[in-house]
């Protein structure tokens, strides 16, 4: 059995040390502030990105990796005698998945069979965590089938909720999905957003003020996981650590959590969700 290598793009928001320790390959998206071009998570850290975003007039642009970039990575890994599972940002948000598929089709036939490209239908650490779990299983010698099954199961059982400071960013980037009806509200409404099974942003609820929003998210998670036993609670923010800690504090009160992780939302997701975004991914006990 050939060993399995995991490939993601840079929007998986996996902390660099974790990614390197597990040997997960990352193909960066591009970020452009006017004429200045950067590679996501390579020569532009989240901190640098948000500092630039604050002073930049308008929105930066993002660009998906080229098929050639993917093809090159797949070639290298298959040369090393590995099978590849390549996991990507929801195709509802980005052409990254399509680009990976095209990259795969540029391989010769026998290599092509060694590469599996997946549309995660989620974003950020929502599929970052899937890649991490998959890489861990691969280390333990899991087969391709076992790993794909694990990914599907985790994806189905994981709950995701996120808040944005303002829907402006999602709206401007065209990523607002079914939450569009809420756009333009003059009140300080915090829509509680999620990503549905098709990979689109949708609003679960709407409340006023961040405190009520956090309280509501905890309520929703309690409904989803009534026994309160949780393997993983992953909180993502673009460096707003005080918000992350506040939410973690609330979750600690209500859930028995085996592991909390915190990761920084990278430039691409940051561009489309906005700097005030905070998200929580929660996986019930017994799956990891």
């Amino acid at each position: 059995m050939r060993p399995i290598a995991l490939v993601t793009d840079s929007t998986a928001d996996i902390p660099t040390d974790v990614r390197e320790a597990l040997g997960i390959e990352m193909v960066p998206l591009g970020v452009h502030f006017g004429e200045e071009a950067y590679l996501d998570n390579v020569d532009l850290t989240p901190e640098q990105f948000y500092a630039k975003l604050a002073s930049f007039d308008g929105l930066p642009k993002t660009s998906q990796p080229s098929p050639a970039q993917y093809c090159e990575v797949y070639k290298r890994l298959t040369d090393e005698g590995k099978d590849v599972i390549s996991l990507h940002l929801s195709s509802a948000f980005s052409g990254t998945y399509q680009s990976a598929l095209t990259g795969k089709s540029m391989l010769e036939d026998e290599r092509e069979d060694a590469v599996t490209v997946l549309d995660s239908k989620t974003a950020s650490y929502g599929y970052g965590m899937l890649a991490v779990a998959a890489a861990e299983l691969a280390r333990r010698g899991g087969s391709r089938e076992e790993i794909l099954e694990r990914i599907a199961k985790l994806k189905a059982e994981t709950k995701l909720y996120f808040l944005v400071d303002t829907l402006d960013y999602l709206h401007k980037g065209g990523r607002i999905g079914k939450a569009a009806a809420l756009f333009g509200s003059l009140l300080n409404i915090k829509p509680i957003l999620t990503i549905d099974a098709e990979g689109y942003v949708t609003a679960t609820d709407k409340v006023r003020g961040q405190k009520r929003a956090f309280a509501r998210i905890v309520e929703l998670l309690q409904t989803a996981f009534p026994n309160g036993e949780v393997d993983l609670a992953a909180v993502v923010t673009p460096g707003r650590t005080e918000m992350a800690e506040e939410l973690i504090g609330l979750l600690r009160d209500k859930f028995a959590v085996r592991k909390f992780t915190r990761s920084a939302i990278g430039p691409v997701i940051g561009t489309h969700a906005g700097p005030g975004t905070v998200g929580i991914f929660m996986t019930p006990a017994g799956l990891m």
Binding site: A181, L186, L187, N188, K206, R208, G209, K211, R212, A215
Partner: protein
Amino acid sequence: MVLAGAEALSQRAELVNELNVFPVPDGDTGTNMAMTMKAGAAELRAKPADEVGRAAETLAKGLLMGARGNSGVILSQLFRGFSRAVAGQRELSVPLFAAALQHGVDTAYKSVAKPVEGTILTVAREAARHGTAAASKTADIAEWMDEVYRKASETLARTPDMLPVLKQVGVVDSGGQGLVYLYEGFARFLLAGGRDERETAGRLDRRPEPLRVGPASAGRGSAVETAISVHGAQAGLATESIAYPYDMEFFIRRPAGPGRKPFPEAAFRRALEKDGDSIIVVDDGDIVKVHVHSRRPGDVLNAALPHGELTELSILNMKDQHRELLAEAADRRRGAGTLPGPKREAAPRPPCEAEPLGLEAAGGLPAAAEPALLAGPDRLETPHPAADEMAPYGIVAVSVGAGNEELFRSLGVDAVISAGASMNPCTEDLVQAVSSLAAEHVFLLPNHPNVFMAAKQAAELTGRSVTVLPSTSVPQGMAALLAFREDDSVKANEDRMRAAIDKALAGQLTKAVRDTNVDGVDIRSGQYIGILNKTIVAAEDGVVEAGRALLSRMLAEGDEAVMILTGEEADPACTEALVGWLGERYPRAEVEVHAGGQPLYPYWFMVETL
């Protein structure tokens, strides 16, 4: 006579307003009733008729569409019943008048889900009952009307004994008072031998002291309005009897000659009652007038035939009448008279003004309807999408103030009815707003206790699928909208929105317009009073002090979300002071301020708990 009554009511609208239980500047039962009557009178002027039946029908239609405020809606129902009873008649005799008043009372009672005694309903009922008795004693219509008026007046004086809230506050029922003024106008006109109403009206006392019976206390609006707001969730109109859809009217021409047997009125009524209601049988000797809503029109005709020849038969399907009203409303929206058809005359319609204030104290009614006001484009900025683009939901909200209107729109409201200072759109405004939406189901937020009945009436008139929610203030309406979800079912949305209305803490700050005492709190005219949901909880000389006192009552934990809607009278320095105080006193609260622009209320607050 009707015009004289309308004028009499209009002249004293302010006096009726003063009978409102709360000392708030938008207590306006009198204005509502006067505006309702004015809409009816304007319709009558626009379509004058020689026959009483036609005139009454025209009047009733004008009133129905022009009805505003709960008392106005009841008034429109009284005349709706009246018009049914006199349909087809040329002249008004005393017995017919009496029967018609009674039919009006029956109709009005049916239209209110939970009739409350000690209100306009009681006054109307007692007057009609007395009218029926008096009809056997006099054939002089002026004398008879005077009797009816006196009985109404007598009954009004007893309303505080029937409804405790009136006694507490020391007033008679305002809606009842309005009706008494109207009947007084009728009586004076008739006693004066039917002379020009202005001449007659000119002799009316301009400012008779409204009847007060003791120290003032709590409650809001007229007694009817108080009761409605209490039972808001359950109250509703059943203006059309679905059980008895055929509205029948005809005359039985009795055989002439000495051998004629007396008409067996009681037995005939019983026969009709088997499958009908709204029964009126008026035996004039030679002619028997019959009116009934029946399920089996054939049986009614068979029951009548043995007693004589049937003439001037009219059988209407009341569901059709509904549809016609709808069509007319739609015509007016598009610009009247664009569609041909006998039922759709391009006659001018009465104005249905947005501003219910500014009544001419002595100048009389406007000469005719002002066509420019017909469609009310200022108030109804509604898009008119094609019928094939039906959205699942449409939302209509009654609001006041430019800022609040913007907020409502930003919350997804499709049609905002920008009401006047006192938040009283007429039924027609609401009908138009609902009809303008290409939506399968419409949620209607009245946002004022006194708009609820008109909203219910409008919902029925449109024949559309409409849910009227019991929101009694603009902040409550906003709370309801936060609970709305486009992808949820009608029932789930209704439940969520009702729950949000119940849960929301809505605070209103305004200036007291008279001295009174509420729950042991002395209020002086000119003081600022804070109203939490339906209770006065604060009275202070300064607006900031009153705001603090009110907010202190609304914030319990200190980590609530507070929304402040500033009115047009709000002083930015005061707003700043209030926000600063909130920040110091409740550092964990999340406060947002919006320029609402509402008149009369410097501040509206909404507080949401975790």
